[in-house]
């Protein structure tokens, strides 16, 4: 038979981890395959069954659930299902179901086991996937995924958990938490855990909804928290947190409370390189050293993506590196130029301010000087300072801002009163040009110097913007200029320009529309949050956005952001410059499906915003 000419054989030869197997063996695999087809929603492996085959998804999508009914893993085109049970001797422990109509290739279990025992790369591939969903790590960043797989939750705990009774008052619990510097506590009724309270609850419940502090803590707790066993591996805890979007996980063994595992505990462990990286940045003596350290950012990003952290957390981590480099450059410049002659604040704008930096970022920055600034005596110092920092950032990979929004531009290096004037003008006469700046200068954070210089402006700006319906209408109109594509299969709206024509710009068509929407919601409610997801959450808490609208947009933003990060990590792994352009054919059918939902959510909110802020009346 001419099996070697079949397309099926080509597909097998392309599927990891079989790519490097000898040709004769690939022929043998192809010749011994069976093919089956399941309609969507078909459960084809159930706990307790005996499975003799390993499935390779040719087309379609598969969902795998654990015994508690939580989603354990997804598989799509070119990915494997059923290897766990075959390697275990056949007994199925997870429920495997088709999410879409699926065509599956079956490799006989005996042949599969032979591949695993004869080829270490095959063994390694399936071994890494056996315990969790983390992607196989590339050379050089291998330690990350491994660390998460081998470390047990108990090793990450430090100290026990604060435990309070459900009848304790909110005020008393708050006092205990702040005394112990605890970010969360467990609420019990007798011996039984009935809820968890995080420090966020004091903002979202007590402050935002005006719940009195004399009431019982049970009023503001999240009931029935999910718990984890101390013997579970850290990767499992991370996957659980990511899936449920929680940052605190009570660790219990039987009825004994061992502690509360936080996202920070995990971050500290699996991101020890990042903590280390930030430390070294703060100790760097020369720009050259900084450039070398900044060079580690791409591989760090790959590791973060592989550790299945959320886009939200990755954004914070990557931004913390950007922030550290900027602060270090400022300190080095001050060391050489001498102490600043007058107070000033170094302000960052855009993605760094929002804690949303990804694979590649330009620099956006500005200086707010105190009002006793005199050009003749102080001008030289700040010009020099701005120049050094801006050049240093560029050398570290944060390229010069194409729109010249940098402290080196005299326009963006002004005393506080001039800045106040800028903002007043942007709010009161929202010309198109002004609106362009709003999207930059309404996402700002002071990271060095006299931070209060910015805080005072912000307070005034938030108060002015909130009640100004004309400004908000313009801002909303501005937020509607980029729409997500209408559809994914045939209606991909392609971006103009060179080689990137056949790809979807995830940033412009997916990320930016949500950032813009969140900014409008935040300013309309006078909220100081800068991060997009924080803005959405705060807007919902203050009643400026519905709970559904909030969670839909957050999900969309998180999903699109995660997809973009995965794409950039993939490019870095291939030695390319990360960008935002994803070729549709590189998306699995599952990703396409979720992306379609995400775009749909963004479009729905854009429409709602258009009518709510009466954008149509502007023209």
């Amino acid at each position: 038979m001419e099996i070697e000419q079949l397309e099926i054989r080509d597909f097998i030869a392309r599927s990891a981890p079989l790519e490097r197997l000898p040709g004769g063996l690939l022929d043998e695999i192809a010749a011994s395959l069976e093919i089956t087809y399941f309609r969507r929603g078909t459960t084809f492996l159930s706990p307790g069954e005996i499975n003799h085959s390993v499935y390779l998804v040719r087309t379609g999508a598969i969902e795998i659930y654990d015994e508690t009914g939580s989603l354990y893993a997804h598989s799509s085109d070119g990915e494997w299902v059923g290897h766990r049970s075959v390697l275990r001797g056949g007994e199925v422990q997870l429920t495997v179901r088709t999410l879409e109509d699926s065509l599956l290739y079956l490799v006989p279990g005996e042949l599969f086991k032979r591949l695993v025992s004869d080829f270490t790369e095959v063994a390694r591939f399936f071994d890494e996937r056996a315990t969790d969903r983390l992607r196989s790590a590339t050379e050089g960043v291998h330690g990350y995924a491994d660390a998460l797989n081998t470390v047990q939750v108990r090793e990450l705990l430090h100290g026990g958990a604060l435990v309070v009774q459900r009848t304790d008052s909110i005020g008393e619990v708050a006092r205990q938490m702040s005394q112990l510097d605890a970010s969360a506590c467990l609420v019990v009724d007798g011996d039984e855990i009935v809820g968890i309270v995080t420090d966020r609850a004091f903002c979202t419940q007590v402050a935002a909804r005006g719940i009195g502090v004399s009431g019982p803590i049970a009023r503001i707790m999240t009931p029935n928290p999910i718990t984890i066993d101390p013997n579970s591996v850290a990767a499992e805890a991370m996957a659980l947190m990511a899936r449920r979007n929680i940052k605190h996980l009570p660790v219990t063994h039987g009825s004994e409370v061992m502690g509360i595992l936080t996202a920070t505990d995990l971050l500290r462990r699996q991101g020890h390189n990042i903590v280390y990286l930030v430390n070294r940045i703060h100790e760097a003596k020369t720009t050259e050293e900084l450039v070398t350290l900044a060079g580690q950012l791409p591989e760090t990003l790959v590791a973060l993506v592989e550790s299945s952290m959320t886009a939200y957390d990755i954004g914070h981590v990557v931004s913390s590196v950007g922030e550290a480099i900027t602060v270090r450059l400022l300190r080095m410049a001050e060391d050489e130029l001498g102490d600043p002659p007058i107070p000033y604040a170094w302000v960052v704008a855009g993605s760094l301010a929002r804690d949303e930096q990804a694979g590649r970022s330009d620099q956006d920055n500005a200086i707010i000087l105190s009002d006793n600034y005199r050009e003749s005596s102080h001008g030289e110092f700040f010009e020099q300072l701005a120049r050094r920092v801006s050049d240093g950032l560029d050398a570290c990979g944060y390229e010069y801002c194409p729109g010249d929004v940098m402290a080196t531009n005299p326009r963006w290096r002004q005393p506080q009163k001039v800045w106040s004037g800028y903002y007043r003008e942007w709010i009161e006469s929202p010309e198109p040009k002004a609106l362009m700046y709003t999207s930059i200068f309404f996402d700002v954070r002071a990271i060095h110097g006299t931070v209060s210089l910015l805080d005072e402006i912000k307070k005034d700006v938030l108060a002015r913007a909130r009640g100004n319906s004309i400004f908000l209408a313009h801002l909303a109109g501005n937020a509607l200029q980029f729409h997500p594509p209408l559809g994914l299969f045939r209606n991909f709206v392609l971006e103009a320009g060179g080689t990137e024509e056949k790809a979807l710009n995830l940033k412009k068509r997916g990320v930016v529309p949500v950032i813009d929407l969140a900014r409008v919601f935040a300013l309309a409610s006078g909220l100081a949050e800068i991060n997009t997801q924080d803005r959405l959450e705060a807007a919902a808490a203050s009643g400026g956005l519905s709970e559904t609208g909030m969670s839909d947009l957050r999900y969309a933003f998180e999903f699109i952001g995660a997809l973009r990060l995965r794409h950039q990590a993939e490019q870095i792994r291939r030695g390319q410059e990360p960008d935002n352009f994803v070729a549709p054919e590189r998306l699995s059918s599952l990703e396409r499906r979720h992306l379609k939902d995400a775009f749909e959510a963004v479009r729905t909110m854009q429409k709602a915003m258009g009518s709510r802020f009466q954008v149509a009346r502007l023209s």
Binding site: E2, I3, E34, I35, L103
Partner: protein, 230 residues
């Protein structure tokens, strides 16, 4: 003997009649096993998906160029039971055969004799249903070939994925555009991948997959669909 056999010249009745007069050889092997009963379920039925590439559509003038087949058993395509043969012929190949089927004159000169190919294929059909997309071609060329070689038209039980699709679509629209029923357009509707067309084995596998998809979309398990429901 049941009533149906008496009233209709059923293939099974013909098989039994022929079996006594052709006890040996590949034909004997085929005829010695009962054709599948129409009560058998798709789960239990063995099906040979067959595709023939020919020099044209006219049974009298055209000849078989290649034969590809694979087995469908228990809801799975079993590739270890598949085969592909190029048939030797002296007739010059029409240009389109070369272009579409990618079979060259040289390959055909070195191919197997039709009698040897049938000698392998026909016993593999024994006790099984034949599956093809637009089965008229496979059925007619196969009947003509066995007629020529053994003097017997093979009694066959045939399942046709095109017919299944036509009937399914016919329920919602009175007229179905012909291109809608082509193998690759049918496969598209079930989310099956696009194979490069026109190697006989590849087409036989493609047809077998389409059949599995059609059965899956009936929404009943295979042990509750019977051959007569085709």
């Amino acid at each position: 003997m049941n009533l149906a056999d008496l009233l209709f010249r059923s293939p099974e009745r013909r098989r039994r009649r022929l079996a006594s007069s052709h006890p040996t050889g590949p034909l004997g092997a085929y005829l010695s096993r009962p054709l599948p009963s129409d009560k058998v379920t798709i789960q239990d039925l063995e099906i040979l998906s067959l595709d023939l590439e020919t020099t044209g559509l006219d049974v009298c003038k055209d000849s078989i160029l290649s034969v590809g087949y694979t087995l469908v058993r228990g809801g799975r395509v079993v590739l270890s039971e598949s085969g592909h043969h190029i048939v030797r012929t002296d007739a010059p190949l029409p240009r389109e055969s070369v272009v579409i089927h990618k079979i060259s004159d040289d390959q055909v000169r070195e191919g197997q004799e039709l009698v040897d190919v049938l000698g392998e294929l026909v016993p593999k059909l024994a006790g099984r249903a034949l599956l093809a997309h637009f089965s008229r071609i496979e059925r007619r060329f196969l009947e003509a070939a066995t007629q020529e070689i053994w003097g017997v038209k093979l009694p066959l039980v045939v399942i046709d994925t095109l017919e299944i699709e036509r009937r399914k679509l016919g329920r919602v629209q009175s007229e179905v555009a012909p291109h809608y029923l082509r193998l690759f357009n049918c496969r598209d509707r079930y989310g099956l991948p696009r194979y490069r067309a026109h190697n006989a084995l590849e087409d036989a596998i493609a047809t077998a997959e389409l059949f599995l998809a059609q059965m899956a979309h009936r929404g009943r398990s295979l042990d509750r669909i019977r051959l007569r429901d085709m």
